[in-house]
């Protein structure tokens, strides 16, 4: 069955090509960084946990050395292919949509849990084919152009994966229970509004620190959601969980720790202000957080 093997194979190949291309330009730190990511994609399951941990330490060492270089400025675009350039750009999302629906309708070929990622991978390969056919791209062109983009992103590329892994260490160390006890001690006894506000704001704040609402939810559910809102105040578990998670998402809009959503686009769009995307999101996130808390309070009280 086709699943993550295909996805990781293609992603690994892309990073391996970036690495080789970096070596040829004597950009050693970038080459080592991309090479290690390629190794992780292609052989991660065979490396074992300790070796994967050492691989992470090496990635961090390269990133922290400050030797990774940004891309050289790209030459101006040659605009002689007209509207044909839209075809490969649209084929990626179109294949992702149709592929996901098709794989779900005809299970058996593709792992249904990975349908979208597999479809996205196929879409990328089809788009590369179209680039060669419609736009007469030669082999080295997408490699050089893609490397320019990944070099501008730099080490931010692996930050989301690193944060997810930090969450695993936090879980093992029992950070959630400790935070839960602390927050539980702050809420005035018997105050439903106090509990709702602590839950909503706690979800947002913990998400801001961890960069991920997934890490905040088990903590806040254990601390406030289940004992005080569901069992204490008799709230509907579905509402408490769903609206709490969305309060966490408001926190995701506010934090540089959510690198893939907030720092990566700032790098990709060449914003002068690294935090420009977060600044643009604050006036949406804060009223929405207030709405979630109010909604939860109205549904419980």
């Amino acid at each position: 069955m086709i699943g993550l093997d295909l996805v990781y194979g293609v992603a690994g190949a892309v990073f391996a090509i970036f690495a080789v291309s970096s070596v040829r330009d004597r950009r050693w730190a970038n080459a080592a960084f991309h090479g290690l990511i390629a190794l992780s994609f292609l052989a991660g399951n065979r490396l074992g946990d300790i070796a994967n941990g050492v691989l992470v330490l090496a990635l961090v060492g390269i990133a922290a050395s400050g030797r990774m270089r940004r891309a050289e400025p790209a030459p101006p675009a040659e605009d002689r292919y007209g509207a044909r350039v839209f075809a490969p750009a649209l084929v990626i999302p179109a294949t992702a949509v149709l592929g996901t629906l098709a794989f779900k309708a005809f299970p058996g070929w593709v792992d249904p849990k990975q349908a979208t990622l597999v479809a996205l991978t196929i879409g990328t390969l089809v788009a590369l084919g179209l680039c060669a056919w419609l736009l007469r791209a030669r082999l080295h062109e997408p490699i050089v152009a893609g490397r320019g983009l990944i070099d501008d992103i730099g080490w931010v590329a692996v930050m989301p994966q690193m944060l997810a892994s930090l969450g695993a260490v936090f879980a093992l160390a029992g950070v959630g229970e400790v935070v839960g006890r602390l927050i539980g001690a702050v809420i005035p006894a018997g105050s439903v509004f106090g509990a709702v506000a602590a839950y909503g704001i706690g979800m947002a704040v913990f998400t801001i620190v961890m960069g991920n609402a997934f890490a905040a939810f088990p903590v806040m559910a254990a601390a406030v959601g289940v004992p005080l809102l569901i069992r204490g105040a008799g709230g509907d578990p579905a509402i408490v969980a769903a609206v709490g998670m969305l309060a966490g998402f408001c926190g995701t809009l506010l934090t540089p720790m959510a690198a893939n959503f907030n720092l990566l686009p700032a790098a990709l769009l060449d914003l002068k202000d690294r935090y420009g995307v977060i600044r643009a999101q604050v006036p949406t996130a804060l009223p929405l957080l207030a709405f979630n808390i109010a909604l939860l309070y109205l549904m419980i009280a």
Partner: protein, 218 residues
């Protein structure tokens, strides 16, 4: 209490502007040691989780295509397309994209858009081109590009939880099961709808407000 030192490391490390990857790995080490775990187990836990979450980084496979298309004039074409549309303003374009992103995410199609897939090659240049026409120069480009990326995030976050098989829904179901509370994903996803509507209203209003400001800057 000692295990909270890792959270302090994160907050302090960010404020002091150390490399974030270094901050994360030090936080993991401090947290694990404070909990009495031996260093090899901490390293193994981190390595295992890193290997299990590779799908997060797989999206960069689209970069060669996007990079090539940009060198073939994709952004120029996107701008030219907007220049021909009558009545296209930066705000209205982004409201349309917000709706598209929320609806597709609600259908489970979260990877259709994104900073690398759609915002950089298409949405940001289109919004920028419309804004330039509204203002008459490129002075507001930074703000408009940031707003394009923000719109992508808002649309994704407050659309995806309506889909029943998304990760966050499955996480909530799993956590509540641990407390003996059985829920169907559908019950959870229904309660994402009120916030999705309000998110559209708040962010949509801000986008139309952006149009007014661009108009005044003329």
């Amino acid at each position: 209490m000692l295990v909270l030192a890792g959270i302090a490391v994160i907050a302090g490390g960010f404020l002091l502007r150390f490399n974030p990857l270094l901050v994360i790995i030090v936080s993991a080490a401090v947290t694990g040691l404070a909990a009495g775990l031996d260093p090899v187990r901490i390293l193994g836990t981190f390595g295992h989780a890193f290997n299990e979450t590779r799908y997060v980084t797989a999206i960069y496979m689209v970069l060669p295509v996007i990079g090539l298309l940009e060198r073939r004039g994709l952004q120029t074409r996107a701008r030219a397309l907007v220049a021909r549309l009558k009545g296209a303003t930066a705000g209205r374009l982004l409201v349309g994209y917000l709706l598209f992103r929320q609806v597709t995410a609600a259908l489970g199609l979260t990877s259709v858009g994104g900073p690398a897939q759609t915002v950089r090659p298409l949405v940001a240049p289109m919004a920028e081109a419309a804004a330039e026409r509204q203002v008459g120069d490129a002075g507001e480009g930074e703000r408009v590009k940031a707003m394009a990326a923000a719109t992508d995030n808002v649309g994704l976050f407050f659309g995806e939880d309506i889909f029943i098989a998304i990760g966050s829904i499955l996480l909530m179901k799993g956590v509540l099961e641990g407390y003996g509370i059985a829920l169907e994903p559908f019950q959870l996803s229904v309660w994402a709808i009120p916030t999705a509507i309000v998110a559209f209203l708040i962010h949509g209003a801000r986008l139309l407000w952006l149009d007014r400001r661009l108009g005044r800057a003329k």
